[in-house]
C-alpha cells in the first residue's frame, strides 16, 4: 500500500511538535531554523496574512510519485519505495548533487561542511516505521536486521533504547505506524495514511467547505502527483509554494530522450560504417585507375 501525508494548513496551530519530533528521531540538534538543510528535514514558517490572521506552513519533502531526484541519481541511491516514501542510501551516493538540481521543490540537502558529505532528506520515517519491538539485538544492545547485521538508519546503528524510543514515536493513537511528525501533531494538521484515502479526504474537505479552503489539493497533480498533500485557506502562491511546475512527471522529460539511444547508436553506427565503406572504396577505385593509367602509359611506351 502506498502511504502519504495530508497537511491541512487550516488546522495547524503552529506548536512545532512535528518539527521537534523530526529533530528528535534523527538525533538532530533542536534549534530554530529558517531553512531546510542537512540537519532540518521539516520546518514551520509563520505567515502574517493580509486580513490580520496568521498561518503556519510546514515545509518538507513532497515524496513525488515519480521523483525527479531518483531518476536523476546515477547510482540509484534515491528510491521511491512501494510504501510511498522517497528514501536514500547514503552509502551509494558519490556526491554529484544532480538530485538537488533535479528536484522541483529543492528538497535534497547536502552536508557542505562534512569531509565525506552526503545528500540528506526526509524519508517519511521509512526505516523507523519498520522497526519492531521483537527485532533481535546483539550482546552490546544493537538492533539487528534480517541478515543479522547491525541495523543502520541514516548512518546510525540503533541501540535497544533508541529502538523503543523510535517505536514509541512512530506509533499513532490507533496503534498503526506512521511518520514521527504525524504522530506528534496534536491538531491532526498532519495525518499519515493510505494515499488514495487521504486524497479523497482532502477533496471532501475542500468541497464541503468551499469558503474555508482554496479549491485545490496541492500535490494531487503537481509533477504528476506527490505523496504529500496540502490543503489551504489561502492561495498557495501567496504562501511561497512552488506553483509553476509541470503537471506531468519530470523523469519523462529525460527518459523520452534516453530511450532513443539504442536506435541512435545503431542508425548512426551503420551510417558511419557506410560512409567509411563508400569513401575508402572510392579511394581504392581511384588508386586502381591511376595504376591502370600508369600501366597503359608504360605499355604504350614499350610499343613505341
Amino acid at each position: 500500500m502506498s502511504h502519504a501525508l495530508l497537511i491541512d494548513l487550516s488546522l495547524c496551530v503552529g506548536c512545532g511538535a512535528c518539527r521537534t519530533a523530526c529533530q528528535e528521531i534523527h538525533h538532530f540538534p533542536d534549534e530554530e531554523n529558517t531553512v531546510l538543510n542537512d540537519k532540518n528535514f521539516t520546518l514551520l514558517e509563520h505567515h502574517q496574512l493580509k486580513d490580520g490572521n496568521e498561518l503556519w506552513v510546514r515545509r518538507m519533502c513532497q515524496h513525488c510519485v515519480e521523483p525527479a531526484c531518483a531518476s536523476a541519481c546515477l547510482v540509484g541511491a534515491l528510491e521511491k519505495t512501494a510504501d510511498g516514501a522517497v528514501t536514500w542510501d547514503t552509502n551509494k551516493c558519490i556526491g554529484c548533487r544532480y538530485c538537488m538540481l533535479a528536484c522541483p521543490f529543492d528538497i535534497p540537502k547536502y552536508e557542505w561542511h562534512a569531509m565525506s558529505p552526503k545528500v540528506r532528506k526526509c524519508t517519511m520515517c521509512h526505516a523507523e516505521r519498520h522497526l519492531t519491538a521483537d527485532m533481535k539485538t546483539d550482546k552490546d544492545g544493537f538492533v539487528l536486521d534480517r541478515r543479522g547485521e547491525r541495523m543502520v538508519i541514516e548512518d546510525r546503528t540503533i541501540k535497544i533504547e533508541d529502538r523503543d524510543h523510535i517505536i514509541e514515536m512512530t506509533t499513532g493513537a490507533d496503534g498503526g505506524r506512521a511518520s514521527a511528525c504525524s504522530v506528534a501533531c496534536p491538531a491532526e494538521a498532519t495525518v499519515y495514511g493510505d494515499r488514495e484515502t487521504l486524497l479523497a479526504e482532502a477533496t471532501r474537505r475542500i468541497k464541503e467547505a468551499p469558503d474555508s479552503y482554496v479549491q485545490k489539493v496541492y500535490g494531487k497533480s503537481e509533477v504528476g502527483g506527490t505523496s504529500v498533500f496540502y490543503i489551504s485557506p489561502v492561495p498557495f502562491e501567496d504562501l511561497g509554494f512552488i506553483t509553476k511546475v509541470e503537471h506531468t512527471p519530470l523523469p519523462e522529460k529525460t527518459w523520452n530522450v534516453l530511450k532513443h539511444i539504442p536506435n541512435v547508436v545503431v542508425t548512426a553506427g551503420v551510417a558511419l560504417g557506410a560512409v567509411y565503406w563508400i569513401t575508402s572504396r572510392r579511394d581504392d577505385v581511384r588508386r586502381f585507375e591511376e595504376e591502370q593509367a600508369a600501366n597503359k602509359k608504360q605499355g604504350g611506351n614499350h610499343g613505341a
Partner: protein, 399 residues
C-alpha cells in the same frame, strides 16, 4: 636546448601554485569551506565550466577524426593528431575537475556497479569513461611510435577505424546528453536556455566548437613551436565551422521563436544581456570576421574568428548552467551565486595544466606534420596500406 624562464612560464607557475593552495583547502576542509556552492546552488563553476564546457571544448577529437578517417578527407590528416591529443587531455582534465566537485570522489566507481539507466548522468558518466579510454587508444600510436614498438603499433592501426566510429558514437551520445541533463529542470531555467531541443543544440554546437578549438590550437602551436599548418586548410575548416554555426543558429532561433522567447531579447534584463553576449561572440563577430575581405583569409583573421566562436560557446554553456537558473534561485532563496576564489583558482589551474601538458606532448612526442610524414611513408593510419598522403592528395599553399 637551454631552459629559458619566460613570462608565460612564470604566469603558468603562479596559476598552478594558486590551484595547489585551493586544492589543499578543497580536500582539507571540504566543499563548504572552499566553494560558494550551497543547498540553493548545488552546481556551480566546476560543473558549468570544468565539466559541461570542458567536454564541449574537447569535441575537436571526434570531429576531426570523423572528417579524416570516416569521410576520408585526407588533406586534414596533419591536424588529426593534435586534435585527438587535445581531446584526450581535455577529457582527462574534465575528470580531474569532476574529482574536485564530487563530494565523495573516492567512490566514483559506484557508477559502474550501482547503475541507474534512467539517469542522464549515468549515461554521461559511462560515455565519458569509455570515450576517454577510446581517446587514449586513438592517441596510443603516437606513444608507440616514439618508443618504436612496431608490433603494438600495427595492432593499433588495424583498430583505428572501429575505434574512431566508436568514438564518434560515444561523443554523439554524451555531447547531447550534457544538454539532456537540464531537461529535467524546466521550471528553474530561463526560457532562453531551457529547450526541448537542448540535446540537439548541445551536439551541434559541440561540433562547431570542436572545429573552432582545432583552428585556435593550430594557430597557437604554429606560433609557439614553429609548426605551421597551411592557411587554406584552416580556411576550409573555418568554412565548415561557419556552416555548422549557421545550422546551430537556425535551430536556435526557430526554437526560441516557437516558444515565444524572442521578444525577451529586448526586455533589458540581465539574461537578455548574457544572451546578446552569447549571440555576439558565437554568431555576429565570427560571421563578420570570416566574411570581411582580406581578413577572413589570413591566419590571424581565421584565428580570431575561431576564438570568438570558442568564447561564444563558453558563454552559451555558462549561460545554460549558471545564468539560466540565477533568477529562479534569487527569487526563491534571495541568493545569487558567484564562484569563490578557490573555485576560480582550481578552474584556472586546470586550464593552465591543459596548456602545459599540450606543450610538453608536442615537445616530446611526434604530434605535428613533420614527424607524421616519416610515418605516413611507412604505413597509413587508417587503412594499414603503404602510402604517402603527400603524393595522393597534395597539400600545397597557393599563397
Amino acid at each position: 636546448m637551454v631552459r629559458k624562464i619566460t613570462f608565460w612560464k612564470i604566469v603558468a607557475a603562479l596559476f598552478l601554485l594558486g590551484g595547489g593552495i585551493a586544492t589543499i583547502v578543497r580536500f582539507g576542509w571540504g566543499l563548504g569551506a572552499s566553494t560558494n556552492l550551497s543547498d540553493m546552488t548545488p552546481w556551480g563553476l566546476w560543473i558549468g565550466f570544468d565539466v559541461v564546457t570542458g567536454v564541449g571544448l574537447a569535441a575537436g577529437g571526434f570531429t576531426i577524426a570523423g572528417i579524416v578517417y570516416i569521410f576520408n578527407i585526407k588533406r586534414f590528416k596533419p591536424i588529426a593528431r593534435p586534435a585527438i591529443l587535445t581531446a584526450f587531455l581535455g577529457y582527462t582534465l574534465v575528470i580531474v575537475g569532476l574529482m574536485f566537485d564530487l563530494g565523495r570522489p573516492w567512490v566514483i566507481w559506484h557508477a559502474l556497479i550501482y547503475q541507474n539507466p534512467h539517469s542522464v548522468l549515468f549515461e554521461v558518466a559511462m560515455c565519458v569513461m569509455i570515450y576517454t579510454t577510446v581517446l587514449a587508444l586513438e592517441f596510443s600510436p603516437v606513444v608507440l611510435e616514439r618508443f618504436r614498438l612496431h608490433k603494438a603499433l600495427k595492432v593499433m592501426k588495424a583498430l583505428t577505424v572501429p575505434l574512431i566510429i566508436l568514438g564518434i558514437l560515444l561523443s554523439m551520445l554524451h555531447q547531447s546528453s550534457l544538454g539532456s541533463l537540464y531537461l529535467i529542470v524546466p521550471q528553474k531555467m530561463h526560457p532562453f536556455w531551457y529547450s526541448p531541443l537542448l540535446p540537439v543544440l548541445f551536439f551541434v554546437s559541440a561540433i562547431c566548437v570542436g572545429l573552432g578549438m582545432t583552428i585556435v590550437e593550430s594557430y597557437l602551436s604554429a606560433r609557439a613551436f614553429q609548426k605551421t599548418l597551411e592557411t587554406p586548410l584552416l580556411r576550409e575548416l573555418a568554412r565548415i565551422m561557419i556552416g555548422v554555426l549557421l545550422v546551430f543558429f537556425t535551430l536556435r532561433f526557430l526554437d526560441l521563436g516557437n516558444r515565444g522567447a524572442l521578444p525577451l531579447l529586448f526586455d533589458g534584463s540581465f539574461e537578455a544581456a548574457m544572451m546578446w553576449l552569447e549571440l555576439g561572440f558565437m554568431l555576429i563577430i565570427p560571421l563578420v570576421l570570416f566574411n570581411v575581405k582580406g581578413w577572413g583569409r589570413t591566419r590571424r583573421g581565421l584565428f580570431f574568428t575561431a576564438v570568438s566562436v570558442v568564447l561564444g560557446f563558453v558563454t552559451n554553456r555558462l549561460n545554460v548552467t549558471m545564468t539560466s537558473v540565477e533568477r529562479y534561485y534569487s527569487e526563491h532563496f534571495g541568493q545569487s551565486y558567484f564562484p569563490s576564489i578557490g573555485e576560480l583558482a582550481v578552474t584556472i589551474s586546470i586550464v593552465t595544466l591543459g596548456f602545459v601538458l599540450f606543450a610538453m606532448a608536442v615537445k616530446y612526442l611526434p604530434i605535428f606534420p613533420h614527424h607524421v610524414e616519416e610515418e605516413e611513408a611507412v604505413i597509413d593510419l587508417a587503412t594499414g596500406r603503404t602510402e604517402n598522403i603527400r603524393t595522393s592528395s597534395p597539400v600545397t599553399d597557393p599563397s
